[in-house]
Subunit: 348 residues, 2 copies
């Protein structure tokens, strides 16, 4: 099979740039699983293009599609022989993050307990929250890098409830959340009240510029933006605007599920343009819990097999950035603009 030709075909049909190597990876992944969601996870390119590729492979007689899975045909099995094996070598001890989970265990246990009664993910706000150990690891890496204790910390959106972990740790100087979802604002305030945590929560839409009192006021920010370039520009750009001085740091997640490497390049250009530097990109750091509204997403409509995901399949890399002299953020007002969808997105 000519993988480069297939890559071109899929790129044209999906309007998403995919490489020969992307296609090969998907073909290799088909040896491991027939679950469309796990295939999207392992393949590491945008879901609409993954599903477009499965259609193209079906047209070529390389896969067959049943009610429940995608299977390599005999010809497909022959094609697989020529591609790179797909294996997961991530460390079991740290779930591949490189950060040991054996610190602040009391806080971790308490957080695991508290988050059980959290609000469900809301489709209205393109939410999808991460596993408690992902949230907890964000705290641990922040602590290790000197971004937590005694710091003023801003969370731009917090459906992952990091503010609660930070509050339980009693380490930051201050914890501020701006969040668009009233339910989450209520939940965080309720927990903060019950646990005596010092967390300030404010309802806010990040399409608007940060109010002046938040600009240049924080040492550290965390956010988990929707995956279009305008949305990441808004969320991360606001985060950068909130930072106090060179050395101040920011953390955010970015996927391959809804962002091609071409979009990653755009993101990286955007970051360097704000005069911040990328210090870490940690593959599959964040693991999202299946959000429950799969059937209402574009991904579902495009899926060649209509099965609900059985395991968590939506993961993202963690970016850490640090401000340099001359850094600046984003003060643009997006009004009511829909900045949350592009050709590569599929969870809206």
């Amino acid at each position: 099979m000519e993988y480069a030709e297939l890559a071109n075909e899929v790129s044209k049909k999906s309007n998403i740039k995919v490489s020969k190597k992307d296609i090969e990876r998907l073909v290799g992944a088909l040896q491991k699983t027939g679950d469309p969601w796990v295939l999207a996870d392992i393949s590491d390119f945008p879901v609409p293009a993954v599903f477009e590729t499965l259609n193209a492979l079906k047209d070529r007689g390389l896969v067959s599609v049943s009610d429940s899975s995608v299977t390599l045909t005999e010809n497909g099995l022959l094609a697989v022989e020529s591609v790179h094996p797909v294996e997961d070598f991530s460390c079991g001890g740290c779930e591949g993050r490189g950060i040991s989970l054996e610190h602040f265990v009391d806080i971790r246990d308490r957080f695991n307990e508290i988050q059980r009664s959290r609000p469900a993910a809301s489709h209205d706000f393109d939410q999808g929250y991460v596993t408690p150990s992902s949230t907890f690891s964000r705290f641990l890496i922040g602590y290790e890098r000197g971004d937590i204790e005694g710091r003023d910390i801003l969370l731009l959106g917090d459906d992952d409830l990091l503010s609660i972990v930070l509050g339980l740790s009693r380490l930051p100087k201050s914890i501020t959340v701006v969040e668009v979802d009233k339910r989450l604002v209520g939940f965080i305030e309720e927990v903060a009240g019950a646990e005596g945590l010092d967390v300030s929560v404010r309802e806010f839409d990040l399409r608007k510029p940060l109010p002046p009192e938040h600009v240049g006021a924080y040492d550290t920010f965390y956010t988990d933006p929707p995956e279009t370039l305008p949305a990441v520009d808004a969320f991360v750009g606001r985060g950068i605007a909130s930072l106090r001085s060179p050395g101040s740091a920011g953390y955010f997640g970015f996927t391959r599920r809804e962002a091609s490497l071409e979009k990653w390049w755009g993101l990286q250009r955007l970051l360097l343009g704000y005069k911040v530097v990328i210090t870490d990109i940690i593959h599959n750091f964040n693991e999202y819990i299946n959000w429950g509204y799969e059937r209402d997403t574009r991904a579902w409509r495009l899926a060649p097999v209509k099965v609900e995901p059985r395991v968590n399949w939506y993961r993202s890399a963690l970016y850490r950035i640090e401000a340099l002299p001359g850094f600046c953020g984003n003060a643009k007002d997006y009004g009511e603009e829909n900045i949350y969808e592009d050709a590569e997105s599929s969870t809206t």
Copy 2:
């Protein structure tokens, strides 16, 4: 103490941009150790600036310097109370890399055996090689990402002997090394002969453009450049020039020991300019074995305490990049130009 003021002073004296946070981290690290090399390791900013900071702290009566170590004075201990604690949370299982070491164990054992008789690091070529588990992990991550089996692989410089691991694995389609050091060329050829490995080694100075037969001929490259921007441009730029198509990948190390985050920003701009995208930056992935010529380096001359390093202290992040449509590399001829030194370097 005014850390921002101290950061300005050190930036001016050392001609290296350091932030308030860098200084704070060093002050925090002084609670852990008085060993100047371990301090440089933990502090994560360039060695000349770390040592300049120690001098400035001494002038302020915050540290005292003996024949063997740097110690916080009583005033220094008070100053430490206001800074972020410095801890190492890296996972013991994977040495912080996120990649499990429990794969291809036979190859690992054989490599550990073979590398024992390797040539020592040569000061002439600014060499410093990594631990066998660092080299082995480079192979593992490459395999996981689909960059090894059936691939044409180019190593631009190979004092880390990755070519031997790759050869032992028998997985790549071809393995090519260009290396300036005759001793290494000899050693790799000798091992390849004895073990029956298919490795092609060629003596080559990377200040010259790659010969045409190497341009656009590889799926994957690895290199470990000296840490100035011109050198990283030459080494990584040649690597990019060697790549075959979008999706082809490159790996290289870059430190904080000899590169400020300002220089990191320059590196990242340079990479994006070649139309490659950064897919991973893994903190402290590479651990270098003390090279043995410490006493002849600039770092030694600047060191406030003249003690030999007792533990490995020189570590670097691993960058992985992937080529995008329209990528191009570096074909500039640097002649005999010294591209290996700048204000931040200290191991030459």
